[in-house]
């Protein structure tokens, strides 16, 4: 169908008032809330941090300085590379991958159990039980982990009382609390896509495989996992992106010496008050994470359209 014919049909089908509402609302959303802000952010990231008086003046030209700073640090820095920021960035990505894999490992069995093994009633109760912690505020969830892992927290008190250790273990500094808290935060986002995928798998396929003498691990490897691949990818994508972009949990649970990349962005904005560099770092986070996700999807041969259902 030609776009013009489509437009005419669209208006005819919905009538003027409704067609106008749909078009205006979607344009506002897509342009004003999604696309234009991203473009402006990219534009900001390509500019110098100038005082308001000089903005729009002759010095206000496009530059790659902010990206250069991310790679090489301040001009004339003897180190050559901006080790601090690069290391934090790499650490953030690796930790996010780790959190994703951990969530996948603990959530796959639950999703499978919910979808195939549990009775309808039990599955519904378990689903409600899964949702409840999710609706408790992210900050409060992180706070709970602080209570548990703090130096004077539950685990250390227990360990000291039993006499297993004589010095409290600093879980916060070791980032154990952060990883546990992040994994905890996104459990639901991993369970539900996988559950949706496995639920549509015909039980007979599993029984047929079992009937043919396949051991349980082979049934999962050859039948269930390939079928649930879009769901698994969807869950992993969400958990990875949200973990890499998390801000509250690292601020509350992160150790004093280790930063999350979002914290660097936050500091660039609020402590250095350098918006162009903050914008550049945000662009880097967005672009690199997206590319990573696309790369993994290419590797596992999952199309974008299959994700997010």
């Amino acid at each position: 169908m030609k776009p013009l014919a489509w437009t005419r049909q669209f208006v005819e089908r919905n009538g003027w008032p409704l067609a106008a509402y749909i078009v205006l609302a979607v344009s506002f959303w897509v342009l004003v809330l999604i696309v234009l802000p991203q473009l402006v952010m990219v534009d900001f990231s390509l500019r110098f941090d100038l005082p308001p008086a000089k903005q729009g003046g002759p010095e206000d030209v496009w530059t790659l300085a902010n990206y250069r700073y991310f790679l090489f640090g301040p001009p004339g820095d003897p180190l050559g590379w901006n080790y601090v920021d690069l290391a934090v960035f790499a650490r953030t990505l690796i930790a996010a991958v780790f959190v994703t894999l951990f969530d996948l490992a603990i959530c796959y069995p639950i999703a499978y159990y919910l979808a195939q093994a549990a009775s309808v009633r039990a599955a519904r109760m378990l689903a409600v039980a899964l949702v409840i912690p999710y609706w408790v505020n992210e900050i409060l969830r992180a706070f709970a982990f602080r209570i548990i892992f703090g130096t004077g927290g539950l685990i250390n008190t227990l360990l000291l009382t039993i006499g297993l250790v004589d010095q409290p273990i600093d879980f916060i500094r070791a980032n154990v609390a952060l990883y546990a808290g992040l994994s905890y935060a996104y459990v639901l986002l991993m369970v539900f896509p996988i559950y949706n995928a496995i639920e549509s798998l015909d039980r007979n396929q599993i029984e047929a495989a079992r009937d043919l003498g396949a051991p349980w691990w082979r049934i999962h490897w050859r039948v269930v996992i390939p079928f649930a691949k879009p769901g698994i990818t969807s869950g992993c994508t969400m958990v990875f992106m949200l973990a890499a972009g998390a801000l509250a949990a690292p601020q509350i649970l992160g150790g004093p010496s280790s930063l999350w990349f979002t914290q660097i962005i936050y500091r660039t904005f609020f402590e250095s008050v350098n918006w162009p560099r903050g914008a550049a770092y945000a662009v880097i986070l967005l672009v690199v994470c997206t590319l990573l996700v696309l790369l993994v999807m290419r590797l596992f041969k999952v199309r974008l359209g299959e994700v997010g259902r």
Partner: protein, 415 residues
């Protein structure tokens, strides 16, 4: 056969153990946090248990900044609900009839905000509206610089996507011929939409509104950039948590968890009742009829009664005697430890008894002090000096522990 049965039993055991572990991971932190809300210990802890107290709830309600944040959050939540539901609905309606070739690109575009890091959305929103305000020469007092306005827009960017997905799921079960039927019977397009599609979408509108409100209320990553000099409830809580942890946050968690639990149970009860009605015709009316044979309703009612009971008990409960005893015991232990330490290392200076200045030196910039001195709801000063840090716990939390304790008395140095 019996071997197989045994294997089956083992599998069940393993599955049961796994489920138990998983849900312990899920609920353990929430349960522990909730219990700490009732311990008078100034550091939120289960053990050692000092005294049963409800003072943390009082402190929470008395916190002016939190209450202002709550008000802002409600305003923002209302704005986000309206905007996101409108945008998400339009987005889903367009998806059902968009030009086929543009469909997948459009879908990717409008669901992408869900995956975008919240900080990126927050930053881009601030930058875009800042640039726009510059371009049209808006003054700083105008809406374009208003933190609440910007937060509503920034949050709606991705919350509208959630809403859209809710609508899309519902629309997949809609028979488009119903609209044709309405038109054929003489309805205008608007009438068909209002009388046929909208009633069908009503449950989805309700779910979308609830999801939008909750997502808005708990959002931190985006709001922290867009809010400027205002603060939302969640941002206030985050700041409190970052500055020092204190059981009034646990008390807040108890309130949130009870509300969530109650909402989940009420919803479950309502759904089961609807199912029963569909299956068996009219259900006996009245409260007894509504609750009978509906475990979720029983639990919800029980929860209500329990909360009411606790509230009554809390009003009468006075933990001051117990607290004085606990304090005494702590001081006693403190002295003993100091004694031991002195005997072991006589040369060394004993840990300072009024520990506050030490703490300040050791932890600059942790904001501990600001917190104690401004801590609202502190009980009136008592003659007892503040307990010194326990030497076994030299970490930050040990300091945070005393210094943020509202139960702790202001140090004598305070003017």
């Amino acid at each position: 056969m019996s071997a197989r049965r045994r294997a089956n039993g083992l599998t069940r055991l393993a599955v049961g153990a796994y489920l138990a572990l998983f849900f312990t991971y899920l609920f353990g932190p929430l349960v522990i946090m909730s219990i700490t809300a009732f311990n008078s210990s100034a550091f939120p802890r289960l053990y050692p248990w000092e005294c049963l107290t409800f003072e943390w709830f009082a402190k929470l309600v008395g916190d002016q900044r939190l209450m202002t944040g709550l008000r802002n959050s409600l305003v923002i939540g209302a704005g986000v609900v309206v905007l996101s539901v409108l945008l998400g609905l339009a987005g889903s309606l367009l998806l059902t009839q968009i030009w086929p070739r543009a469909r997948s690109a459009y879908y990717t575009l409008v669901t992408a905000p869900i995956l975008m890091p919240g900080v990126v959305i927050g930053i881009s929103t601030v930058l875009f509206w800042d640039r726009l305000a510059h371009a049209i020469g808006a003054s700083y007092g105008s809406a374009l610089y208003n933190g609440i306005f910007l937060t509503i827009l920034g949050q709606s960017c991705f919350i509208a996507s959630y809403c859209m997905l809710v609508f899309v799921a519902r629309l997949q079960r809609f028979d488009l011929q119903l609209l044709d039927a309405a038109l054929d019977l003489g309805a205008t397009n608007v009438q068909a939409f209002r009388k046929i599609l909208l009633p069908f979408l009503k449950p989805a509108i309700f779910s979308a509104a609830v999801i939008a409100f909750l997502a808005s209320f708990e959002n931190y990553n985006t709001s922290v950039f867009t809010i400027s000099h205002y603060n939302t409830f969640t941002i206030e809580v985050a700041q409190k948590v970052r500055l020092g942890i204190d059981p009034s946050i646990s008390a807040l968690a108890v309130i949130v968890i009870v509300l969530t639990l109650f909402a989940a149970l009420a919803r479950e009860a309502w759904m089961r009742r609807a199912e029963q009605r569909r299956a068996e015709g009219p259900v006996p009316g009245g409260i007894v009829g509504a609750v009978a044979g509906n475990p979720a309703a029983v639990l919800a009612t029980f929860l209500l009664v329990a909360v009411a009971g606790v509230a009554v008990f809390a009003a009468r409960h006075d933990p001051s005697t117990c607290k004085a005893a606990a304090l005494e015991e702590r001081l006693e232990r403190q002295r003993r430890l100091e004694e031991e330490a002195r005997q072991r290392r006589p040369a060394e200076v004993a840990p300072a008894t009024p520990a506050a200045p030490t703490g300040q030196v050791q932890n600059p910039g942790r904001g501990m002090f600001g917190d104690i001195f401004t801590a609202p709801g502190s009980p009136p000063a008592s003659p007892a000096p503040p307990p010194a840090p326990e030497t076994r716990n030299p970490g930050q939390d040990a300091f945070g522990d005393i210094f943020t304790a509202p139960g702790a008395r202001p140090p004598p140095q305070q003017p």
